[in-house]
């Protein structure tokens, strides 16, 4: 794939270009464009050798190349999404106007950056690390894995336990995915006749369609969208759920994640980060500066208005993970949950507190939302999550 090519080493490139049939005398402008291409790639633009070559061809054929045309041309070549488009001008200016190649922080620009540029606070500083309270030493006769599956997430503490939970969650998410896609084979029976194959088969009967061929519908795997509550009351569970969501995002080709406390933040790009520690850190950066009461209703409103259109289709299962303690008016929450339910295939509400002894959904917000929820289920340990898989499978 061209994306793996190295744009680096401008001089080498010019040699490579010659072999591509493009003659260059390696003018300063050409070298500068090549370096800019590499710079753009270092800043996360989806660049490969093809784009660099096209950039040179563009520079070659444009006789009147002022700064503005160069900007427009390269922007069209280097960008491939609204995100890129928004970032491009800064990158271009910083490179061409000041000659600087400073790396623009990849964490989305509009978010607060506590501690100034470059110093990303660690997970611990922001309260994501060792917050799980109360050690639970009772291993009994069960194997370590069984113990973990049944343990309330609040009672997990050591780094090793967390790692194990993470592995289990990822495995679980993969298992769910495997089950979902297996349906393709089991239900590969169609109702409509496939004319092309029927005609093929009819030839040996002189054109009489004796053997009918059917067209099989391929049911596609579901899409999962998770909306996670990261408020104070959910704090003991956040660390775990971040890992669980990460497992889901990695295993489902189509999935998305959002997190809210007082406002809603899109999480997926942070969670796709390869390094889990970095992912948690990025998530910490994104969530920094939150405070005040939980506003589930408002957050869902933001979701419905700005994200629902692009993330939800008729095959989407929306999973809200929250304890339902909303400081906003319950009517708002109810209306938004209803709206969300209308767009999605199923709405699942996971509430870690159901696992608590004697819990009743008395939180006002929770009672308001319940009528619009397809499944209201506990999610306080891995066992309870595992029980979800069969439900999702039946959809």
């Amino acid at each position: 794939m061209s994306g793996e090519d190295d744009i680096g080493g401008a001089e080498d490139r010019v040699v490579a270009l010659a072999s591509h049939g493009i003659q260059h005398d390696a003018s300063p402008l050409v070298l500068k464009i090549l370096r800019f291409a590499r710079h753009a790639r270092d800043n996360g633009f989806p660049m490969g050798i093809d784009e660099a070559l096209d950039a040179l061809e563009f520079a070659d054929q444009s006789d009147l190349l002022d700064r503005q045309s160069l900007r427009w041309g390269l922007r069209t070549l280097f960008c491939s999404s609204p995100d890129d488009w928004e970032r491009f001008d800064d990158l271009f200016d910083s490179y061409w106007s000041y000659g600087g190649e400073r790396t623009i922080l990849k964490v989305s620009g509009s978010l607060p950056r506590p501690g100034g540029e470059g110093t990303i606070p660690t997970a611990d500083q922001l309260g994501f690390g060792n917050e799980l309270a109360e050690a639970d030493e009772t291993t009994g006769g069960a194997t370590a894995r069984e113990r973990l599956e049944g343990t309330d997430f609040r009672h997990l503490d050591s780094e090793r336990d967390l790692q194990a939970v993470h592995d289990l969650a990822e495995r679980l998410a993969r298992r769910m995915r495997w089950r979902l896609s297996r349906r393709r084979r089991v239900r590969a029976r169609g109702r409509t006749i496939d004319l092309r194959n029927t005609i093929h088969k009819s030839l040996r009967h002189g054109g009489t369609p004796l053997e009918l061929a059917y067209r099989r519908r391929h049911p596609r795997p579901l899409k999962l969208v998770v909306i996670l509550d990261a408020s104070g009351s959910m704090n003991l569970y956040s660390t775990f759920f971040i890992r669980f969501i990460r497992g889901i995002i990695e295993s489902f080709a189509q999935s998305d994640a959002f997190v809210f406390h007082t406002r809603l933040v899109h999480l997926s790009s942070a969670l796709r980060e390869k390094d889990i520690e970095r992912a948690v850190e990025r998530m910490a950066v994104m969530s920094a500066g939150w405070g005040g009461g939980t506003r589930i209703g408002e957050s869902l409103k933001t979701f419905n208005r700005h994200h629902a259109k692009s993330t939800i289709n008729s095959r989407t299962v929306v999973m809200i993970v929250s304890d339902g303690y909303d400081t906003g008016p319950p009517e708002v929450l109810a209306a938004q949950v209803k709206k969300l339910r209308g767009r999605a295939k199923r709405l699942v509400w996971l509430n870690p507190m159901i696992g608590w002894k004697g819990y009743q959904p008395v939180a006002q917000g929770m009672t308001a939302a319940l009528p619009h929820v397809d499944l209201f289920a506990p999610a306080h340990n891995l066992e309870s999550l595992a029980k979800l898989a069969p439900y999702l499978e039946r959809l």
Binding site: S69, I199, K309
Partner: protein, 291 residues
């Protein structure tokens, strides 16, 4: 083609474009790559293709995408009725099944759908793949293959190579994330709502009947309306509709008869929630600012 010429030519067809869009189109022509144009609904993405068609004096082949769109509907389909008929006619002849098969899988039994049609023209047409985000991933992957090699393989016939390479324009409202592979295959342009000056130029070009004063008020009002918290912001098409409607009812200014004017807002606001959002006092405030 130089982008300055292109911009002038686009304007000649009634399509007012920013220089950066003209540049992007000029580059797709030069580099022979498809271009993906994204933007909100109603910013004039589809019209780019129409204008380009007119400039190049060629045909426009439009493929409107929807969920469930498959290769049969977009590339080719065998003409089954004709095939069955042919089989019946040859029933008496002593042909083997293989020979018959060869007969009925020939080009004359083929119904060309937009993609196959687009690559088999002598003169390269403009191929508009509209709202690609509505189609599903399978189709997207398939399309990527066609757009990379400009050839289509038909199992019964072999590979059909492009006679000419069409000018491909894809549009998307970003209702779904497109795959990186498709994005990378295409040049990219983000089309924003037009600036006040540009929108005024568009209204003047498309609805010349609207007096300068009225057109200015219309544009300022719509620009202000877009800054309100709406579910569906009015696009350029809506501004034009509204301008035509106002010319139709013989209005000279937008603040003549506020009640009547508020009725005409249905040209701009298409959902109930949005109409409620623009309450009479909000409307008055917006009108006062635009006049």
């Amino acid at each position: 083609m130089d982008w300055r010429d292109l911009q002038a030519k686009l304007a000649g067809t009634g399509y007012i474009s920013d220089p950066d869009l003209a540049m992007a189109i000029a580059m797709t022509e030069r580099l022979k790559r498809p271009i993906l144009i994204e933007g909100e609904a109603g910013v004039g993405k589809t019209d780019v293709a129409k204008a380009l068609t007119q400039i190049l004096d060629t045909d426009l082949i439009r493929l409107q995408c929807y969920e469930g769109l498959d290769a049969n509907a977009t590339v080719y389909e065998w003409n089954y009725q004709r095939q069955l008929l042919a089989i019946k006619i040859w029933e008496e002849e002593k042909l083997t099944a293989d020979e018959k098969e060869e007969h009925i899988f020939q080009e004359k039994f083929l119904l060309k759908r937009p993609l196959l049609d687009a690559i088999s023209r002598e003169q390269a047409p403009v191929l508009l793949i509209d709202e690609i985000d509505r189609a599903d991933e399978e189709f997207e992957a398939f399309l990527l293959e066609v757009l990379s090699d400009y050839q289509i393989s038909i199992p019964e016939m072999g590979t059909v190579k492009a006679v000419s390479i069409p000018h491909v324009i894809l549009t998307s409202n970003s209702t779904r994330e497109l795959s990186d592979a498709l994005r990378r295959r295409c040049l990219y342009h983000w089309l924003d709502y037009p600036s006040e000056d540009k929108e005024l130029a568009i209204v003047n070009a498309r609805v010349p009947e609207a007096e300068t004063k009225l057109a200015g008020q219309i544009v300022r009002f719509v620009q202000a309306l877009r800054r309100e918290d709406l579910e569906k912001k009015p696009g350029v098409a809506e501004s034009l509709d509204w301008a035509r409607a106002l010319v139709g009812i013989g209005a000279a200014r937008i603040d003549e008869d506020l009640d009547e004017m508020r009725e005409t807002l249905m040209c701009l606001l298409k959902t109930r929630a949005d109409r409620e959002q623009i309450a009479p006092e909000v409307f008055e405030r917006l009108v006062a600012k635009a006049v």
